[in-house]
Structures are given as structure tokens and as C-alpha cells.
């Protein structure tokens, strides 16, 4: 009988060791886990030695409510008037049981230069590894959030990425910062640490508000990286008599100076200029920063096109302030028969 009891106890010990190894990376023992304790006593009365066993006391692991919201690692660069600009936050369930979280976005944050304007919908739940999507990055597979409808349900230690989608006002200036916050709170309850929500935890146990108050807020920032591209055009008339009179047969030499000013990037900038009425492009005169460009659309960035109308076209690429001045030159001749 004694050996029977011992084998039962050693089985329980083995189980305990296995669980403690598993819990090394977890937030704590899972909510709802029963923990039993039984003591034994050995004693001697007269010459007789005996053993007695205590009652078994059981405690049940209650659910602890804790959450962490991680802000985006970097600012999101935006241009004035752009739509669908994204800030991605990570929401972690730091509790020990499955919990749904209420998400609230706020764009009226003080201390910034402008308020982003919520898109509709404004909050998306990342679809994770859904087919066709990219985990943790905003894409078309992500699901619009409906408060109370699809509050993200996270098991203990799990996380999900939440994307805030906003539009940028047209009135913002280069360098302006606009902030948005995301708040996640446990659906079961939040507030003062230690608050007990009786019977509302996993498997009917109590839920207890943890050290994070079961509510966390993180802030993301949009930074306006504006760029203004200016093109200044000048002309010089050279007539066939050595003068500068705009006679039929005289050439007009155009010089266009392009500059980018600001902290942003004018992506894939293209310069195009129509050939003025009454004139014709002089073949082989197109240059960029003094370097000749062929008239055909080929390997270099320049071309003379006849459709939809006669014009010169130069692909300037991504223009930054640091790109410096781009000087484009070409010539036209004044037609004899206007």
C-alpha cells in the first residue's frame, strides 16, 4: 500500500518538472490550471510507526490581465495631401489566458504640428500569414477592425499587428510631425492593478488586473517629408544674321533649370516641355547638364517625341535636394510658314 502511494506521488513530481520546463518562456502558469497539495506525516506511537495523509488543498490559477502595445520603430514619411498612410503597432497579450482586446485610435494628440485624419476604415487587424498577404505589414488581406465585433483574441503570450490608416492634410509643411496613438485594453476589464473581476477569467476563474493595468497606449508619428520642385525656363534667340531677332529661320535656345527643395524625394520625376507652335525642334540639341541625349527613346533618359504632340522629355529619376541642379537645354527653329 505504501509503495502504491509513493508511485502516485512521484508521477505528480515528474509532471511538475515537465511543466516548469515548458513555462520557461511563458508569462506564467496558464489560467485555469489546478494546483493540488497533499502533505504526509510519519510518526511513532509506542513502538508502532505509521503515516497519515492530509486533505488535498486545491488552488486554481486565476487569469491575469496584462497587455503591451509597441509603437512603430520608425516615423512614417508622408507628403502633404497623401491618403492611406500607415502606422503599424504590435499588441502583445502579457496575461496567462486567452483575452480579447478593445482597440481605440486617437489622432488628436497634443504637442504635434498637425492631426492626421482617420481613413475609413482606420484600424486594420493584420491577417498574419494569410495567403497572398505579408505578415505584420499592411496589405489588402488585412481585416478592418469593428469594436466589439472582431476584437482580436490573443492566447497567452501571443501578439498581433494593428495598422492605423490615416490621411495627411494638404496644409502641412515640410518637417511637420503628426501623431496618432493606439490604445489596447483587455475586454474582461482594466484599471487599478489587483482589481478582481470575479468569475470572468478563463474557465470561470477570477480575472485580476495586472501590473500593466490591462491597458496600454503607444504613439506613432508621421513626418512630412515635403519637396518642392521648381523649373526655371529662359531663352536666347539667335538669328541667322548673327543677331538676336526672332525671324523665321532663327533658333531659340531654351535652358531649363530644375531644382528640388525640401527634405523629401520627388520620385521618378519627369520633365516634359512642348515644342512651341510655329517652331520645330532642332534635332540633336537636347542635353542634360551639358551631356548630349539622343532624340530617340532608348537607353538614355532623354527623347524627342512627336505624339501626342511634339515635345522633349527627360526622365530625372528620384529628385532630392541633394541631387543638385539639373540643367536641360534644347533648341527650336522658327518656322518659315507659320
Amino acid at each position: 500500500m505504501k509503495s502504491f502511494r509513493f508511485s502516485a506521488l512521484s508521477g505528480a513530481v515528474a509532471l511538475a518538472l515537465a511543466f516548469s520546463a515548458h513555462n520557461a518562456h511563458a508569462v506564467g502558469v496558464a489560467a485555469g490550471t489546478p494546483i493540488d497539495n497533499t502533505a504526509t506525516v510519519d510518526f511513532t506511537v509506542g513502538t508502532v510507526t505509521s503515516t497519515a495523509t492530509s486533505n488535498t488543498v486545491q488552488v486554481v490559477v486565476a487569469e491575469i490581465l496584462d497587455v503591451d502595445v509597441t509603437p512603430p520603430a520608425t516615423r512614417t514619411p508622408v507628403a502633404p495631401g497623401t491618403t492611406g498612410q500607415v502606422l503599424s503597432f504590435r499588441v502583445d497579450n502579457l496575461g496567462n489566458g486567452p483575452e480579447a482586446f478593445l482597440l481605440v485610435a486617437n489622432n488628436a494628440v497634443t504637442g504635434d504640428a498637425f492631426d492626421p485624419v482617420a481613413a475609413s476604415p482606420a484600424i486594420y487587424i493584420d491577417s498574419g500569414s494569410a495567403p497572398g498577404g505579408t505578415p505584420d505589414v499592411f496589405d489588402a488581406t488585412d481585416v478592418p477592425y469593428v469594436p466589439g465585433g472582431n476584437d482580436p483574441l490573443l492566447i497567452a503570450d501571443a501578439h498581433v499587428y494593428i495598422h492605423l490608416v490615416n490621411n495627411i492634410p494638404t496644409t502641412v509643411a515640410d518637417g511637420n510631425l503628426g501623431r496618432s496613438t493606439l490604445t489596447a485594453s483587455a475586454r474582461t476589464g482594466s484599471g487599478t492593478q489587483g482589481t478582481v473581476i470575479a468569475g470572468q477569467g478563463t474557465a470561470g476563474t477570477d480575472a485580476v488586473v495586472g501590473v500593466t493595468h490591462a491597458l496600454d497606449l503607444a504613439q506613432g508619428e508621421y513626418e512630412v517629408l515635403g519637396v518642392t520642385v521648381t523649373a526655371t525656363k529662359s531663352q536666347a534667340v539667335v538669328d541667322q544674321f548673327g543677331g538676336s531677332h526672332p525671324l523665321p529661320g532663327a533658333n531659340i535656345n531654351y535652358t531649363i533649370v530644375v531644382n528640388a527643395v525640401g527634405t523629401g524625394t520627388a520620385a521618378t520625376a519627369v520633365f516634359a516641355d512642348n515644342i512651341p507652335a510655329g517652331t520645330s525642334y532642332v534635332p540633336g540639341t537636347l542635353t542634360l547638364n551639358g551631356g548630349a541625349l539622343t532624340d530617340t527613346a532608348d537607353g538614355d533618359v532623354g527623347a524627342y517625341e512627336t505624339t501626342p504632340q511634339p515635345r522633349v522629355r527627360v526622365q530625372l529619376g528620384n529628385l532630392l535636394q541633394s541631387s543638385g541642379t539639373k540643367t536641360i537645354q534644347f533648341s527650336v527653329v522658327i518656322n518659315n510658314t507659320p
Partner: protein, 165 residues
């Protein structure tokens, strides 16, 4: 799994009672009534804002909370009990809290495997090929050996704390 263990224990206890009533050798089996309780500290603020900490039954606990386990051994026979030794395994999912074991008139030892018992200085763990002193959180069993006999009607108390992982 835990539930099954409990059932086996309960069956063993029942069997012991049955035998005890029949055979004299087991007549002393019921001499000590052993009781285990679990409690946690709860802070109570009264109407005047005065905080008091009281111990309340620990039926539900959250990770990180210390549970105080108390084992009482009550001698309900008319003869004294000698060599009273209480054994309690540190419950699953819990870690023993250093220096928390107490029991008036007892020598307290610990064990990592349930076989070899010793004081904190005597328990070592082999880690990366070298022996080091065991951490309190690694103790798996606590044992109280009471030096004096337990008089009829007297109660010995053994207590320790463990934190929920």
C-alpha cells in the same frame, strides 16, 4: 493527470481507514489528524483608510503571488506521538520562497529529488559540469522533523511559502 493522482491518494487514505479499524498494528494510523491549508495575503483598507493585511483562503491565485501553505498535525490519541515528521512536496507550478519554511521545534530540511534531504548548504545542482548551490526555487520537497514528542491533544504546525510561476 493531477486529478488522477488525487483520486489514487484518496483511495489509499480510504483503504488505510478501513484497515485501521480491523488491525491493532494500524490502530495508531488515525492518531495524527493532518490538515493542509493554502492562504494568500490580502490588503484590506477600512473606512478610515487604514490598511491591514489579512490572510485569506487561496482558492484562486495569479502568477507571481506567494501562497502560504500551512500543515497542522493534531495528535488526537491518548498517547504521545514520537518522531513526528511532516513531508510536503512543493506544489506543481510553484517555486519555494527562500527562508520561508518555519515550524516551532523542528529541524527543516529540503530535497531536490525527494530522496536526499539536507540544509540549503548541502544541496547542489550540477550545471555545465560543475556543482553549484541549489537555488531555493529549485527545492522540490520540504521536511520538518519535530524534536519533541507531540503530546495528546497538541498540534504541530509546519509552514512554507511558494510563489506561483
Amino acid at each position: 493527470m493531477i486529478k488522477r493522482t488525487r483520486n489514487i491518494l484518496a483511495a489509499a487514505a480510504l483503504l488505510a481507514c478501513g484497515l485501521g479499524s480491523q488491525a491493532y498494528a494500524q490502530g495508531v494510523q488515525g492518531c495524527i489528524l493532518l490538515k493542509s491549508t493554502a492562504e494568500i495575503a490580502k490588503e484590506v483598507v477600512d473606512a478610515k483608510g487604514v490598511k491591514t493585511v489579512t490572510m485569506v483562503p487561496a482558492d484562486k491565485v495569479v502568477p507571481g503571488v506567494e501562497v502560504t501553505w500551512t500543515v497542522t498535525a493534531n495528535n488526537i490519541c491518548k498517547q504521545p506521538s514520537e518522531k513526528v515528521t511532516i513531508n510536503n512536496a512543493v506544489p506543481a507550478h510553484m517555486s519555494y520562497v527562500a527562508s520561508s519554511a518555519s515550524g516551532a521545534g523542528s529541524d527543516i530540511t529540503f530535497s531536490l529529488d525527494g530522496k536526499t534531504f539536507g540544509g540549503p548548504a548541502q544541496l547542489t545542482v550540477i550545471e555545465n559540469g560543475a556543482a553549484r548551490p541549489a537555488h531555493a526555487g529549485e527545492y522540490k520537497h520540504v521536511r520538518w522533523v519535530f524534536k519533541d514528542s507531540l503530546a495528546p491533544g497538541a498540534t504541530a504546525v509546519a509552514r512554507f511559502r511558494a510563489v506561483l510561476n
